[in-house]
């Protein structure tokens, strides 16, 4: 079990944080989403969402494309190939941990 805990501690924290995991999960199912839709889908405030998107962008897991629509800016967010792979790896790791913990449960 100790190995499992070590591995859990070694999870990618950039993705593992609940709000960012929600953002990445949403983006993995669509071509792109604008800022407002992400805010609606995650329930995050615009300040928090901006911070999380910046972190994900710094990690090159998403791209952020700002366009001017009239006087307003519209931000289109897309998951990158690296982001998609990182997310798949993360879910696979979580599944593995879950399976190991299930197996080691006392009868």
């Amino acid at each position: 079990m100790s190995n499992v805990f070590e591995e859990i501690a070694g999870l990618d924290k950039l993705i593992h944080e609940p709000a960012r995991l929600a953002i990445m999960t949403i983006l993995s199912t669509v071509e792109s989403s604008d800022f407002l839709a992400l805010q609606r889908l995650t329930g995050l405030t615009s300040g928090n969402l901006s911070v999380h998107l910046s972190k994900l962008e710094e990690g090159e897991l998403i791209t952020n494309d700002k366009q001017f629509v009239g006087k307003k800016t519209r931000t289109h967010v897309k998951i990158t190939e690296k982001g998609q792979q990182a997310l798949e790896k993360h879910w696979a790791q979580l599944e593995t941990f879950r399976a190991i913990v299930q197996k080691s449960k006392p009868e």
Partner: protein
């Protein structure tokens, strides 16, 4: 936060769950059927019909703008978009065939009604909607339309006259219009309810 599968489902079908977009379509269907029921051959003035279509188009554009400004824009993946348009094309084609059969042949069954009932029943994203009561409402609507489509078999061709409607085709079209409006409003309520109300937990 919503469950992962639910978040995925809502984001995948985000624009398809914008139920109010069905309202102008349903209203147009109802009003046009109502208009067709009231006018007498030969029809000389189509200006009212054109006004209905333009009104519905403007109404649709206003609703689309409301969704964009209130809920944002999600662009589905290419495969989802293709699947959606193929389905729409297939349903449109089947609808046209059903209309042609209903108008051409004097059958005691409404094929367009059966088509509408099937759409209510098998419309995938909405049937699979994570909130169970929504599927129940769809099932009830589908059963209603199904029985109404078969009603001339049991009640005779002229039973629609009780409501002042000249025939099954127009009656079914009006009913489908009303149910589309009701269903659209219900979709919208469930769409709004399905969005998270509490913020995702931060670090």
């Amino acid at each position: 936060m919503k469950a992962n599968f639910q978040t995925k489902f809502i984001s995948e079908n985000y624009s398809m769950l914008h139920g109010l977009k069905a309202v102008p379509i349903g209203l147009l269907l109802f009003i046009v059927s109502f208009w067709a029921n009231e006018v007498h051959d030969p029809i000389k003035n189509y200006s009212l019909l054109i006004a209905f279509v333009l009104g519905a188009l403007l109404f649709y554009m206003a609703i689309d703008r409301y969704y964009k400004n209130t809920f944002g824009i999600v662009i589905p993946t290419y495969s989802s978009r293709r699947g959606y348009w193929v389905t729409q094309f297939g349903l449109g084609l089947l609808g046209l065939i059903a209309c042609w059969v209903d108008i051409t042949f004097d059958l005691p069954i409404s094929f367009i009604g059966l088509g509408v009932a099937s759409v209510f029943l098998f419309d995938k994203p909405k049937v699979a909607f994570p909130l169970n009561e929504f599927s129940t409402i769809k099932l009830v609507l589908a059963i209603c339309v199904f029985f109404v489509s078969l009603s001339p078999l049991f009640l005779g061709e002229d039973w629609w006259h009780i409501f002042g409607v000249h025939g099954t085709f127009l009656g079914i079209s009006m009913l489908a219009g009303i149910l589309t409006v009701i269903q659209g409003v219900i979709w919208h309520i469930f769409f709004v309810k399905s969005l998270p109300t509490t913020e995702a937990k931060d670090e």
